[in-house]
């Protein structure tokens, strides 16, 4: 790799937040596709629904902590060689990703409440019933949750494609700032 040594890496905290939420989001999304594909009613399906909700709530909590952290700790600057359009594209994608990190779990949370099924986190404690069961609202929230999730998937694909382009094509060291292990000596 020809990453310029001058590029500052993200802090270990930011890197940990990133990869933890990334793993959970991909896992929760996949589980969502698998569980809704099971027809009828089976214990496995109900188990997956519960796990999906626990994971989604965890993403929401982590995202809130991460956003607080991000607001207090600026991200390392991009190299001056990066074109302006890439700045806009990156900021736009990151902003949308942050919006959806809240939008997807929140829409799912309200969807299950509207369906009359509260979330009992890890089967241990019931989370607040913020709305009453509402059969008219249920299908609306269902499609909001679906399209937010699909929007999130599209943004993740965009994000990964850009990261790969910087890593493999541009080789400008931008992607390395967020990789869990630095390959060579870089400034912290």
């Amino acid at each position: 790799m020809t990453a310029p040594a001058s590029l500052q890496r993200y802090s270990p905290t930011a890197i940990a937040f990133h990869w933890l939420t990334a793993t959970l989001i991909v896992g929760t999304f996949t589980l969502g596709l698998v569980m809704t594909d099971i027809s009828g009613l089976t214990p496995t399906k109900l188990k997956y629904f519960s796990w999906h909700k626990w994971a989604g709530v965890t993403v929401l909590i982590l995202s809130a902590l991460r956003l607080l952290w991000r607001l207090r700790t600026p991200a390392p600057a991009y190299p001056s060689t990066m074109p302006a359009w890439q700045h806009y594209a990156a900021h736009g994608t990151h902003a949308l990703l942050y919006v959806l990190m809240f939008g997807v779990p929140l829409s799912g949370y309200f969807y299950t409440l509207a369906a009359g099924v509260p979330v009992v986190y890890f089967g241990l404690f019931q989370l607040p019933l913020l709305i009453e069961p509402d059969l008219a609202l249920k299908p609306v929230l269902k499609s909001v949750h679906y399209w937010f999730s699909m929007g999130m998937a599209a943004m993740v694909v965009m994000h990964v494609a850009a990261a790969l382009k910087h890593l493999v094509v541009d080789r400008d060291g931008i992607t390395q700032r967020m990789l869990p292990f630095s390959t060579h000596k870089e400034h912290q």
Partner: protein, 184 residues
């Protein structure tokens, strides 16, 4: 003319002092539901079809009688796809046992102004004795009967095979009802 007048008056009063007659159930203001716990998540589902025969006179509660019939396949668990499962063999087996029923055997004054009701609950061809407190109150010209009957679903074989796992679906199920009934 006086005797005739008394006769008319008497005929009007007879229904008030006569034998307890079955009350008419107000279906709109009545409901029967089951509260179950799935992986510790409480879910309340309503039975959409049921009928109740209630013979009750506030002056003679011990003479009261109640019978409730419920269409088992009418349990609404929140989704048309899931509701189709309810009538299946491992659940209510609605083809063979379309009705669940409760028939009272004794009604006595209970604690705190409630009535202590005992009766026989039959679901999926299996009968068990149940006892529960019943509250009766007047509301908008109707009598409202309310109560909760805790049961164990496996006593009646509801949720067989892979569903008999009580860590997935708790054995304890609460049947909640509210029946509004009046003379007219």
């Amino acid at each position: 003319m006086k005797p005739l007048r008394y006769l008319v008056l008497a005929s009007l009063l007879v229904p008030l002092f006569g034998q307890a007659a079955p009350l008419k159930v107000d279906a709109v203001r009545s409901n029967v539901s089951a509260v179950f716990k799935q992986m510790n998540v409480p879910v309340e589902a309503k039975f959409r079809q049921f009928n109740a025969l209630i013979d009750y006179d506030a002056k003679r509660p011990e003479a009261a009688k109640a019978q409730v019939n419920i269409a088992t396949a009418s349990l609404d668990i929140g989704d048309p796809e899931y509701n189709r499962e309810v009538g299946k063999k491992e659940w209510f087996n609605a083809a063979q046992f379309p009705q669940a029923s409760f028939v009272s055997t004794a009604i006595k004054p209970g604690a705190n102004g409630t009535l202590a009701v005992t009766g026989k609950l039959t679901i999926k061809g299996k009968t068990a004795d149940v006892a529960f407190p019943l509250t009766v109150k007047a509301d908008g010209g109707k009598q409202v009967f309310e109560g909760q009957i805790p049961i164990r679903r496996l006593t009646f074989g509801i949720g067989e095979g892979e569903w008999s796992d009580t860590s997935m679906l708790a054995n304890e199920v609460l049947i909640k009802f509210r029946v509004a009934a009046g003379n007219q």
